[in-house]
C-alpha cells in the first residue's frame, strides 16, 4: 500500500514512513497541503494521512481542495495532537477517521487495513 504522509514535522513523517516501510508499505512525504496536492499530481496513493495544523495550507483546507481536484480522492485520515475538531466533524467533511497524536502504530495499522484503498 502506498501512503501519502502530510505533516510539517519532518521527524514525525520520517518515523511513520520508516514504520510503514518496515511493514511492507511505501510512503511519500509532504510538509503541507499544497505540497501534498503537488505530490498527488505525479503519485497515485492508496491512503492519505494528514496533520491538521500546518502553515500555509492546513489539513482541512487540503482536504477541501483535494475534493475539487481529484474525484474520487483516496481515503483520507487526519491526525492531530489538539482537540480543535471531533471525529464526527472530519467524517462529515469526507475524511475516514481522526487519529490522535501521538499515533500508536497499532491504530495506524488498523486504520490502514480498514480504510486503505484495496481493503475491503
Amino acid at each position: 500500500m502506498k501512503v501519502l504522509i502530510v505533516d510539517d514535522e519532518p521527524d514525525l513523517c520520517d518515523i511513520i514512513s520508516l514504520f510503514l516501510e518496515m511493514k511492507g508499505h511505501q510512503a511519500v512525504i509532504a510538509n503541507c497541503g499544497i505540497s501534498g496536492l503537488n505530490t498527488l499530481e505525479t503519485e497515485e496513493v492508496d491512503l492519505i494521512l494528514s496533520d491538521i495544523r500546518m502553515p500555509k495550507c492546513g489539513g482541512i483546507e487540503f482536504l477541501e481542495r483535494l475534493k475539487d481536484k481529484i474525484i474520487p480522492h483516496p481515503p483520507f485520515l487526519f491526525m492531530t495532537g489538539f482537540s480543535e475538531v471531533t471525529e464526527e466533524e472530519v467524517v462529515a467533511r469526507g475524511a475516514k477517521a481522526l487519529l490522535k497524536k501521538p499515533v500508536s502504530f497499532d491504530d495506524l495499522l488498523k486504520a490502514l487495513e480498514e480504510h486503505g484503498e484495496g481493503s475491503s
Binding site: E9, D11, L12, D14, I15, I16, L18, F19, M22, R53, M54, P55, K56, G81, F82, K101, P102, V103, S104, F105
Partner: protein, 369 residues
C-alpha cells in the same frame, strides 16, 4: 472701621479655602478665626470652635501633630507646606487635607499661626482608585499573556512529544521484528535527543520568563538569550499564521552581553512581538524583523513589521497606559506603556520611528550599567 472689619470678614468667609487662625500668645493655640470653608471642610461650626483648641475636637495624636507643626512654623518664622495630613472630623469622619501654615508676628514676637487647608480627600480616593485599576489591568494583561503563552507552549511541546512517543514505538517494532540495524538505532536515538533538547529549550525559556528570582540587577545577557527565551512560546503562533520572523544584524551584536533584568526585557520582546502579530496578521505580506546594531555605548534593537506605520495622531497616545487601538477585549492598552517603563528603568529608550515606511519601534539600551 466697623465697615472695613465686616468687609474683611466677608472676604475671608467667601474664600474657597479653609482658613483658620490660632492664638499662641498663651502657648495653647486657641482658635480666633474659622471661616465658612473651614466649617465645611471639618464639619465644625465657627461658634463651636472659637475659643477652643485642637484637643477639644480631634484625636490626641492628631492634635499633637498639629501643635508640633504650629510650633515648627512659629519657630522657623516661615511658611511651611504639609502636602497631606489626615484629620478625623467628629461629624465627617476621616478627611485628607493639604495645608499651608504661616506665622504672624506682633512686635517681632511670633503670636498667631494662620492656616490654610484644601480638602483633597476625593482627589486621593480617585488616585487610589486609579492605582487599583491600573494594577488590575496589569494583572489582567499578565493573565492574557500567560494564557497565550500556555497555548504556545502546548503547541510547541505537543509535536516533539509525539515524535518521542512514536520513536519509542518504532524502536519497539524494530526490536520485535529483529530488524534493528545499529545505524538505524543511532539515527532514531539522535532524533530523540534532538527532540528532548527542543522541549527543554521551551521549558527553559518559560522558566526564564516567569521566574522572578532571575531579576538580578547586575546580571547580563544577550539579545540572543532573550530571543531563545521568548521564541519558545510565540514562534509556533507566528509559524501557523504564516508570519515570518526575521532576525538580522551581526552575530557579534546578537551575542553582545548587556546589563539587564532578563525577565523584564523578555516581557518587552514578547509584547512587541505580540503587537506586531496583531498588526500584520490580516495583511497579505506578513513578516516581523528584529535587527540588532551598535551605536557608541548603546545596543540598538529595532522591531519592524510589515504594517504601514501608525497614524500620526496616535504617535503620542500609543505609549499612554490604557490606550489601545485594538478591538474591544483584545488589548489591555498597557503593553507599550509597561515596555517603555521597563526600558526606561534600564537607562534606555523605546521610541516609535515615524520616518520608517513600515511600523518600527527602536530600543536603545546602554551596554554599561
Amino acid at each position: 472701621m466697623d465697615d472695613d472689619n465686616f468687609f474683611l470678614n466677608e472676604l475671608i468667609d467667601a474664600l474657597p479655602v479653609a482658613l483658620f487662625c490660632k492664638d499662641y500668645s498663651s502657648g495653647k493655640g486657641i482658635f480666633v478665626h474659622w471661616n465658612h470653608q473651614a466649617e465645611i471642610t471639618w464639619g465644625l461650626k465657627k461658634n463651636e470652635v472659637l475659643g477652643k483648641s485642637d484637643y477639644d475636637f480631634f484625636p490626641v495624636d492628631q492634635a499633637e501633630h498639629f501643635k508640633r507643626k504650629d510650633h515648627e512654623t512659629l519657630k522657623s518664622g516661615k511658611l511651611i507646606h504639609i502636602p497631606e495630613e489626615p484629620v478625623d472630623s467628629p461629624s465627617l469622619g476621616r478627611r485628607i487635607v493639604r495645608t499651608w501654615k504661616v506665622p504672624i508676628q506682633l512686635a517681632g514676637v511670633p503670636r498667631y499661626m494662620l492656616g490654610m487647608s484644601f480638602d483633597i480627600t476625593e482627589q486621593i480616593n480617585l488616585q487610589e482608585e486609579l492605582d487599583r485599576e491600573r494594577q488590575n489591568a496589569i494583572n489582567t494583561s499578565k493573565l492574557v499573556a500567560l494564557g497565550e503563552m500556555a497555548g504556545g507552549i502546548a503547541h510547541e511541546v505537543n509535536n516533539p512529544l509525539s515524535v518521542l512517543t512514536m520513536s519509542c514505538e518504532l524502536l519497539k517494532a524494530q526490536v520485535e521484528n529483529s530488524e534493528l540495524d545499529p545505524e538505524d538505532l543511532k539515527a532514531t536515538v539522535d532524533r530523540m535527543l534532538r527532540t528532548t533538547d527542543r522541549i527543554s529549550k521551551v521549558v527553559r525559556g518559560l522558566l526564564n520568563i516567569s521566574r522572578e528570582s532571575i531579576v538580578e540587577k547586575d546580571s547580563t545577557c544577550s539579545v540572543q538569550d532573550i530571543l531563545d527565551d521568548v521564541m519558545g512560546s510565540c514562534v509556533e503562533k507566528f509559524r501557523l499564521h504564516g508570519i515570518k520572523i526575521k532576525v538580522a544584524g551581526h552575530e557579534e551584536f546578537l551575542k553582545q552581553e548587556f546589563p539587564c533584568s532578563r525577565v523584564q526585557i523578555s516581557q518587552v520582546f514578547l509584547n512587541l512581538f505580540g503587537n506586531a502579530f496583531d498588526a500584520v496578521n490580516e495583511l497579505d505580506d506578513r513578516w516581523v524583523q528584529l535587527e540588532v546594531t551598535h551605536q557608541e555605548d548603546h545596543l540598538v534593537i529595532s522591531f519592524t513589521d510589515s504594517g504601514c506605520g501608525i497614524r500620526k495622531e496616535l504617535h503620542q497616545k500609543i505609549f499612554n497606559p490604557f490606550f489601545s487601538s485594538k478591538e474591544v477585549g483584545k488589548g489591555t492598552g498597557i503593553g507599550l506603556s509597561i515596555s517603555k517603563e521597563i526600558i526606561h528603568k534600564h537607562g534606555g529608550t523605546l521610541v516609535l520611528n515615524s520616518n520608517h515606511p513600515n511600523t518600527q519601534f527602536i530600543i536603545h539600551l546602554p551596554l554599561e550599567a
